[in-house]
Subunit: 201 residues, 2 copies
Amino acid sequence: MSTRHVVLALLNIQPATGYELAQVMKESIEPLWSATHSQIYPALHKLERDGLILGEEGLRGTRMKRVVYRVTDEGVRELEEWIARPVQYLPFRDPFRLWASYFDVCPPEVIERNLEEHIKLQTERAEQLAERASELAKGNHPLFRAREGRVPSAELERIKKARSFIYGELAALARFEAESATRIREAARAMHASRDEETAE
Amino acid sequence: MSTRHVVLALLNIQPATGYELAQVMKESIEPLWSATHSQIYPALHKLERDGLILGEEGLRGTRMKRVVYRVTDEGVRELEEWIARPVQYLPFRDPFRLWASYFDVCPPEVIERNLEEHIKLQTERAEQLAERASELAKGNHPLFRAREGRVPSAELERIKKARSFIYGELAALARFEAESATRIREAARAMHASRDEETAE
DNA sequence: AACATCATGTAATCGGTTACATGATTCA
DNA sequence: TGAATCATGTAACCGATTACATGATGTT
């Protein structure tokens, strides 16, 4: 279970409210890990009960309550341990290739439509991720700004390099997915062409 | 939700018991979709209630009950509709790259260990999948044997080609994962080397 | 005044995992 | 006789999704 650790890792960068975490999740972390506010709020409550974070109630305006959470020393230790543990893989579930493995019985129009969609999706994703990687390399990200001053600049440079590199790899993965779908489309077209020949005989 | 459809698709090849489905799931379908017997039995009950499959009670030996399920006409229609529907993607969750994105703060030994493990895993997986793909191309699989006779040989050839092609793509994906991890290892080594230089100054 | 955004939650449900539970059959 | 395999299930729990619910604040 990593949602808990992603939340912890984000709070380790800077204290935040659940709302802010949900935003960062959607805008920045989504390619690595998805979670919505319905998961985040209960996760925060649990982390606080476990003593890994601490919430401080504040106000926005005059009436509106907000809770800013920050990581405790114990939370920092837990994060370090989590990073040092072997990666916990998820079971393989590949809805795209599962569907694609039936391209022999799928009507050609549907194949073309679904593959076209997939290729477009992954190509755009690749471009966005590559763009993100280059922005991260430059340090253009609020999560870096938040650390400026508090963190030695040499360390900040390393963080930039690491995050940027991983987003580069995510971009490469998306490109691979687009290429894979293109190959599958070729195979499906070839198969349909040869089948039409057969039936024409 | 695809577990339901995977079960339906497997029963469409040939009638089977829950136990047999669980085996096929583990031995053949796992790279595309995972499910254990604890999901399969309830799924079978639900599919039967919905009229998509039909179970026939039989015996193994003299006392041991077993239920062989087969797809109904309605089940076949549902399968066709499922294949024609747009692919339902899963939310992105990438535990490996999530972990790897912290390679800047992770002790070098842990990085080496985890990445070594990942590269080994994916390389072996790639080999197994490539082997599987070539076996599928030859038609060496009980799921093809099951169809021999019942299905025109031209169609059987197409099924072989399609399944084999997808397993080839799964192999390519595993190779990509191994290469990606290798690149990450290079980056991590370079970073640690330059950090050691810094501290030596 | 209306709309977007900030902010926090809960409830029902679903799909999946892990553990518990049982017993027949086959083969060495 | 014991181990592996065949065979079927349930229960507790977990994590995630979707929908429901509320209200303040800032902007146009």
